[in-house]
Amino acid sequence: MHPTTRTVSHPVLSGRRITCSLATSVLSLALAACVPGNARQDDSLYQALGGPTGVDQLVEKLLDRCYADERIAFLFKNADRRDLHRLISEQFCAESGGPCTYTGRSMTEAHSGLQIGHAEFEAFVEDFTDAMEDVKLPYRTQNRMLKVFAPMQPEVVDQ
């Protein structure tokens, strides 16, 4: 691997799913994301995250950890942190039922060429969980977030 030659845009969980085909486990959220104007959607997870302020703090902690984690920091070397912060916040908000639209690329596109392995993905999940502990999210809220994002693993690794 030659990490320094990798082109990095936003290598973490930062893409919108174009279709709903992989979203059986998060059907309601995915439907909400895919059907514009869907009147009522469950935003309880977004509220549990603490709304815009909570999401902002969570993403800040997450990026702190990722940039400091020698196992995956090289993936972020060429990324614009402000850009990443905005896109991940949008995604967290949208996927948790909040009133946001994710404007980034799809998960597969966003990670294309990065050749992220399973070990790197696992390291990220650990950092993500630690970040949720940093901002003192209740354990059950952490689990709901993991449930939303865990199924994206195949769209992130080996791209």
Binding site: T24, H118, A119, T141, N143, A150
Partner: protein
């Protein structure tokens, strides 16, 4: 997170696991743990394979992910008063795909020994295991992780089993396991479910040898269910059907409830209350199980 690997107890198999660390092909070179999430390596079963306490799961031992090698080593004691079983062993997980395991069991006949005029008598068995993940991932696929396993079991001292009618001093168990973690699946807590189908010739899991007058190979079902109540604490229960081949020594199903503590990837403690029913004529064998494990 670069906690150095270190032995968790002084049990010799753990030294083997730590030695393995030096060989591990992890990308980090400073002997860090594997990167899979906490508790996804399960615990060590009494037969050495990764799983609950008495039921093997589809998970691969240790915390190595696809690019890594992991492993675990353990020491376990089960005590029902009439029986006491000590097990030591280790398991190596290769690339989250293949698991090799070894367990050495010694069952002390605390009550039967003296009654038979054999004070200090014990039953001894080694179990060599191989497990291959066939499909899925406990966390990341909508369907369960599925694995196929083989356990080669060999008596180290066949005298007592042969006297009670066992035909062979060794046997092979084949099993198929499916294991799934349901994130936020139990009121927001992460739940896990495992089912294992086992084909075996064993009497009392092999401690009383293999085959006998009542037949030989038979099919058993084993299940585990539980939840993590924090990132580091799991509670669960297990059930394992059993039916031996020995005349006059009917077997009962085994069950247990357990608490597992995963303070970090290097250390796991499991406590359980076990109900083994009637074991070799002694009724109501209930007691405690404790397992201390080191992992990478």
């Amino acid at each position: 997170m670069t906690a150095p690997c270190r032995p968790a107890t002084r049990s010799y198999p753990i030294a083997a696991a730590v030695a393995l660390c030096a060989l591990a092909s992890a990308p980090a070179t400073d002997c860090t743990a594997g990167t899979r999430q906490l508790a996804t390596g399960g615990a060590s079963t009494i037969e050495g394979s990764a799983g609950g306490g008495m039921v093997p799961w589809a998970v691969i031992a240790g915390y190595g992910s696809r690019e890594e090698i992991g492993g675990s080593a353990f020491a376990t004691r089960t005590d029902t008063g009439d029986y006491r079983m000590d097990v030591q062993g280790f398991a190596l997980g290769f690339h989250n795909r293949v698991e090799f395991s070894f367990a050495r069991q010694q069952l002390d006949l605390v009550k039967l020994g003296p009654a038979l005029g054999l004070p200090g008598a014990h039953l001894d068995q080694d179990v060599i295991g191989l497990k291959v993940k066939l499909a899925g991932d406990v966390l990341y696929t909508p369907y369960p992780q599925i694995a196929f396993g083989v356990q080669y079991k060999r008596q180290r001292e066949f005298l007592i089993p042969s006297v009670v009618g066992a035909k062979d001093d060794s046997g092979v168990d084949l099993y198929l396991s499916a294991t799934k973690v349901f994130l936020a699946g139990a009121g927001g807590f992460n739940a896990f479910v495992n089912g294992t189908l086992r084909s075996t010739e064993a009497n009392e899991t092999g401690l009383l040898g293999f085959g006998g007058p009542d037949g030989s190979r038979h099919l058993e079902f084993e299940g585990s269910i539980g939840a993590l109540f924090t990132r580091r604490f799991a509670v669960g229960m297990e059930y394992r059907t059993k039916s031996g081949n020995l005349e006059g020594l009917p077997e009962d199903d085994w069950k247990d409830i357990f608490v597992a503590w995963f303070p970090n990837r290097h250390f796991t403690v499991v406590l359980a209350y076990v109900d083994l029913g009637t074991v070799a004529t002694l009724e109501d064998q209930t007691g405690w199980y404790v397992s201390v494990e080191g992992g990478l």
